[in-house]
């Protein structure tokens, strides 16, 4: 029997590009909150890679002297302050062919 975690990964493999978590939850047939827990497990297992905050651990980027003079820092950047959490599937391109449909 295919587990719901495997179904999630299989469904994700059929996607080429970004997918909203609510759409993926619909496709897999689980609630969005359940999907969130499943994502955490897949992240812990190294199957999904979370997009870190662009400045995570890189305080040098916005430390002042090295920064653009009109930069307000990543946590206040108008274009990034409310960016969605995102997770990328770690694909072994050699072994897992990606279908070309969305």
């Amino acid at each position: 029997m295919t587990s719901v975690l495997e179904a999630l990964v299989d469904e994700l493999r059929t996607v080429q590009g970004p997918i909203r978590s609510s759409d993926l939850a619909d496709r897999v047939g689980v609630s969005e909150s359940a999907l969130s827990g499943m994502i955490d497990v897949l992240v812990a297992k190294g199957r999904l890679s979370p997009a870190e905050s662009p400045g995570a651990g890189e305080s040098v980027a916005c430390s002042g002297s090295a920064c653009g003079s009109s930069c307000v820092g990543l946590d206040q950047c108008a274009f990034i302050a409310n960016v969605p959490a995102c997770y990328t599937l770690i694909v072994d391109a050699a072994s897992v062919p990606l279908p070309a449909t969305e």
Partner: protein, 568 residues
Amino acid sequence: MSRLVVDYGSDVETAIALLVGEIEETPDVSERYASRWLATALLDEDPGLVEPLTALDGGDRLVATRDRLAEELRGALGEQADTAIAAARFQTANTIARAAIVGQTGKSRDRTDRIDAVLTNRYLGIPIFLALMWAVFKITTDIAGAFLDWIDSAVSGPIAHFVESFVSLIGLDGTWVESLLIDGVIAGVGAVLVFVPILLALYLALAFLEDTGYMARAAFVMDRVMRGVGLQGKAFLPMLVGFGCTVPAVYATRTLEDERDRILTSLLVPFMSCGARLPVYVLISAVFFPQHAGLVVFGMYLLGILVALTIGLVLKRTLLPVTSHAPTIMEMPPYRLPTFRTIWFHTWTRVTAFIGGAGSIIFGTMIVVWFLMAVPVSGDGGFADTDVDDSAFAAMSGAVAPAFDPAGFGTWEAAGSLLTGFVAKEVVVGTMAQVYGIEDAGVEGPSPSIADSAREIGTGFAGAMLGALRATPGIIGIDLTDADAEDEPSSLMASIRVSFEESSGGHSAAAALAFLVFVLLYTPCMAAVAAIRQETSTRWMWLSIVGQTAIAWAFAVVFFQGAKVLGL
């Protein structure tokens, strides 16, 4: 009440049974823990369990058995035991949820989903994003533009008079100190600070979109565009940051695992029009395209994206072939009604950061530019008393200026402004204020009283408010402005127009457009160059500098010559 026992599948259940047997033969452990729970938690690799367990008699043996069974399960299942356990739990929870929750057949859509169906639609998402950005720049230039003259007249009037009176009071009038303060600091830094209302409006509009939750959707839409040039999903983050400032955007490429993605993104990020370029767009648009300033600014942002996509496609097919497109899940925040308090907090933080920046890099550069303009290299003038055309700055800039002849702005003033732009784009406007406005920068007439100055500032503000209110309906196409009443251009704006008119052979608007295109596409600033070197290599850094400058020059020439043909 019946007790639910999750079925983990035959392989895992066999391993659990073996561990349960061993646990029950270990009294120290079985007295403290429920056997099946402990067996499952051990196979699930519960991180907090091993230490207390090994402190008990027989605990080490249990951990060793767990390790052996986990290894066997990995071979049998093709995945780790804890993954299989998590999958079984989710499967059980999902089965229960499906049985227990009724009335949700098919896809249920809430308000956020319904709005997203339109805003992130495969075909509508990008046009809607562009339309919203156009509205943002329309608001920015049309409404906030009314305040430019107010701040300009306050800086060059009462504030300049105050500084002049102070210099006179301490007996330094007529000296280089007065020139430094009036021609250098007030003219340069003041010219940049004039654009604070523009940034205020931009940040207000963006904070509004951000607070509604739309900016997250912009990231989603942008991601699709980025994939078009072969960049992986996460590359949209640095590209979006690039609209704010290139430097952190380049550093943000560290989050990309693939080196080719990192290099490609670092090379493309500088084409995203950063906030520091905005004052240049607004100034030049106010001089040459006053009725279409919003469209011109929007056009610059759009051109930056298009050039980045084109360059990305070229690099993808040549130097940096990209191999994979990993799918990405995005967790969108729900839409919500924005609150004024949050919007104002974000806006104020960003504006004060800009003013702080103006007080450091711009201030320093303006003093250097003033110094170079004060040093004579020809003619008979002395220090701070020379014709600007004889200054070191004019000589230095004049050596570069002929390169811009085919683009219609081959003057030392324009070239000098672009040269200082390598330091930071904010100083381009400050330099223009110095080099074009230097002859008019002196403060004329008697100093007004404090009461007169306050009255002048107050009247100017009221006029600006009225202008902003009149311009507001223009966003939806209702023009309430007095078309016959043309604002008197400032001496700086008049000087820029005359200079571009002369250098372009009468095609000043075409030259202005080419100038803007060059500002958009050439190297953003030295800090960005240093960041690119740090994140890639010296070779890629030079490719970025030379490539961007060459592309900027080529586009500027094509735009000027093309616009000339079109009769601009």
